[in-house]
Symmetry: C2
Subunit: 343 residues, 2 copies
């Protein structure tokens, strides 16, 4: 019912000036002890807290960071948010989250909405559509305005900024290599459409592993899924032909679908078909059999991204105007989590 109390109100009530109140609360020695204590007591009684908006306006710092991600109901992305939130909290920052829904327009809209003073910097992962279009003007724009941006996971070389990624290529390589090591010869790749940056990189790693081991790289064994619902059919066809004895899937949804399809056809995992998935999410941990995955450690990515962003923000404070543009790309380590879907 009663609005928050302001400096002005305190000043009026105690019949002193606003500046006196402000200084008293900051324990300035300029103010006599009697007045100081009186003001402090009064402020405490009325539970005075400075208004964040006014502070932001004054300091040109909002102490909040914007996150723009394609989805939020998504294990990986939510772990990243979690990681960001932890660090942000630690440094006294709030996080504002916008979901692009994998739409270019929403991504642009969201960025514009936040770019006008609401936040001190961005952490983002590109939407599919943005990667497809290759249009990054909205991002360069905010960067040109002097707002720091950190990209993670789905990044692009066309933008110069700090980045946090995993080495998708070598992680895929490692996964495929482990399938080869366990004696698999015909390894299928189930992936997304090409324009998603990480999909492309993982395909590269898959190919390299095959070639390095003297195995043929067969385009027919690469299954590109646009829509999860249709993948079952494609997969069952290939399974019928017994075309492969192992699968490397770029995400766990594909992996679990493969396993289920295989089971329906009477094929056993891992005996008949070994499965490895990218993204160590909740499905892999609880599916039957549990799925061997490449851990992506979203939390670590979030931690790192937040740290990088906040450091940039607070660095700019000091040597103002002096943009040092030696951007870094942090590579987060991955490792294979062996579970029941491989032997």
């Amino acid at each position: 019912m009663k609005r928050k109390i302001t400096l002005k109100q305190i000043a009026k009530e105690l019949d002193v000036s606003i500046s006196t109140v402000s200084k008293s609360l900051r324990n300035s020695l300029e103010i006599g002890e009697e007045t100081r204590l009186k003001v402090q007591a009064f402020a405490k009684f009325y539970n005075y807290k400075p208004n964040n908006i006014a502070l932001s306006l004054k300091n040109r710092k909002t102490k909040s960071i914007g996150i723009i991600i394609p989805e939020i109901v998504h294990y990986f992305f939510s772990t990243v948010i979690n990681g960001i939130e932890q660090v942000a909290n630690e440094y006294g920052y709030s996080v504002v989250i916008c979901v692009s829904d994998d739409s270019f327009d929403k991504e642009v809209l969201n960025m514009e909405m936040l770019a006008n003073g609401s936040i001190d910097g961005f952490i983002m992962s590109l939407s599919k559509e943005t990667q497809y279009k290759g249009d990054f003007h909205h991002i360069t724009e905010v960067i040109n305005q002097g707002m720091p941006v950190v990209m993670f996971d789905r990044v692009t070389n066309d933008i110069l900024c700090d980045k946090v990624i995993i080495d998708d290529k070598s992680a895929a390589y490692e996964a495929v290599q482990s399938l080869i090591d366990s004696g698999r010869k015909k390894i299928a790749l189930v992936t997304t459409v090409d324009y998603v940056s990480v999909g492309k990189l993982r395909t590269d790693g898959y190919e390299k592993a095959l070639l390095d081991n003297g195995l043929p790289f067969n385009e027919d064994l690469i299954i590109k899924i646009e829509d999860v619902d249709t993948c079952e059919i494609t997969i069952s066809e290939l399974l019928h032909a017994r075309a492969f004895d192992a699968v490397f899937a770029v995400n766990e949804l594909f992996a679990v679908t493969i396993i289920k399809t295989a089971n329906k056809m009477g094929l056993k995992v891992p005996e008949d078909i070994a499965v490895i998935a990218f993204t160590d999410g909740i499905i892999s941990k609880y599916s039957t059999p549990t799925i061997t995955t490449v851990s992506q450690s979203g939390e670590k990515m979030g931690n790192k991204a937040a740290k990088m962003l906040i450091e940039r923000i607070e660095a700019e404070e000091d040597d103002d105007e002096e943009h040092n543009e030696n951007y870094i790309t942090e590579v987060i380590e991955t490792h294979l989590i062996k579970r029941e879907s491989t032997d």
Copy 2:
């Protein structure tokens, strides 16, 4: 590099007053066409956008809403956020998210951080610890300051505010009834500790369904899990004793663990044991067998909560001071999604 342009800079550049610029941009008829167009062209060229912070300060409206939830890496909560985000976006609001980590202190801290002007209202779900302590002073405080609060899912009767919940008791009743209908007689309940409000309600529904059907309510068949890791042991003991032929689990994590444990012991789901879980999440959809669940529709809850909050916020705008305190509690419908874990 170049900071965002302000009204003042435009005014200076074009040698007119700030108000002239402001009015030109808002297409006021007060300003002559020539000047107006000149200003608009200039503003467009320099991509002028009003500063959100300044607007917030002036309008005493931030156009953002704060969300405080116990966890974010959690299917249900992330769907709720998704639902909130959709509606918020539609109305031009941003969402600021804080995670309480089920800690009372963090919840208080986060609320205090946001309450000082950063947001126009709260949407929250209580942390476990807060429910345990029963201390809600931080919430009453912001409500007393005139800030609207909407609680969802984990709510309390001790706070008067708008709420969005599901009818946990009758949903549980329905689930247990369906188990009874399919001929099950010894139905176990796997639940959390009591102080979590929803856990209690679901237990009530479970009990009522049993009694209404003339089945005994046996405390031994209620398994309270504090930590997921320990539940496997408890469950396997009961399974050994063949103490039950069906399980109602208050979340899908418990359900999938039960299924896995049963499988290990050579018991078949649903033949030997039928399983129903609360919370229709991703695990239920992809586990083997897929799990029959009570859909909780987090998205709908989020939609509704956001709508209620925004309506309150914008209502206060009009009849200022005139708090109408007829708070409502919206009950979101649930329904049973039958899958393979029941027959």
